[in-house]
Subunit: 175 residues, 2 copies
């Protein structure tokens, strides 16, 4: 069985989308997507509010209640039957997120067991056949085939094959 | 820089030792080390008390307050300067342990950054040059050189090179 390594945030979970929804409601201000490009989605928020956004990222509960990316459950369910699937999230920067990410997985992806979940600081440590991730820094050291999952912050990247959504992932992995 | 992957429990942290100390005090009974061999150290506790021991393993606070293995701090400090060091713990079975393990590392091994810590369900995912672990199941799939860290439950294992303590590790890694 080929091994597929799938990221969480901005790939199967939607912290950026949820943060923007919250922010617009709370401050009645918009984000600037163009400022996210080439960096982090945090940079799309007005500078004076970035510390508040960062604080919210670190607060208990944030990662527990994230929205699930469209079609990711259905497609990963099938991928899980045909591949050796691992979910790998670079989560160590957010200590409160650790247990929450595990619980979130168990709620939304109950067919993925705890043995298939890894929370790490640096993805250089993992290896496999395929990696799906929204960050070049995670893909660049990977030994296998790399897929950049499209997100507002990586629209400038040209050197990786893209998956724009989970329907596209299904076309690649489940043909 | 060569990559060294080091386990936590029974290698740099001492859950077994701490559990035995607590158990002897609480129940004034001894454990049977011979029953641990070839399995888990849990099996060394009298059968009627194994559920209590297991419950204690899952309870909040247990992993936060573990004793540190003798000489592991000093030796890992030097290993960290000469190698690319990662701490990898198969912790997903114990959701309460996740944040506690990170905090424990930050307290006792402050020279090891969060980027160097991985909490996983299955160590087949990681690769490197050296792995130090007390479980055959973690070593057997590893691509690099494997060292079995001696623990009461693995005394029967003959097919791996052993490190009996951190002084021996220093002699191997810091010559």
């Amino acid at each position: 069985m080929k091994r597929v390594i799938v990221d969480m945030d901005e790939v199967i979970a939607d912290p950026m989308g949820d943060m923007i929804t919250w922010y617009k409601k709370e401050y009645e201000l918009d984000v600037d997507y163009s400022k996210m490009i080439g960096g982090s989605w945090l940079k799309g928020f007005p500078e004076q509010h970035q510390p508040i956004v960062r604080e919210r990222l670190l607060s208990p509960g944030f990662f527990r209640n994230l929205s699930v990316m469209e079609n990711s459950v259905e497609v990963l369910k099938e991928i899980n039957e045909r591949y050796e699937l691992f979910i790998v999230s670079a989560a160590m920067e957010f200590p409160n997120s650790l247990k929450e990410k595990l619980e979130w997985m168990q709620e939304h992806f109950p067919f993925i067991g705890w043995r298939q979940i890894t929370l790490c600081g640096d993805k250089r440590l993992v290896y496999g056949d395929y990696m799906i991730d929204d960050h070049v820094r995670n893909l660049q050291h990977f030994n296998g085939k790399k897929y950049l999952y499209t997100s507002a912050h990586n629209l400038d990247v040209t050197e990786y094959e893209r998956l724009n959504n989970w329907e596209e992932a299904a076309k690649v992995f489940l043909v």
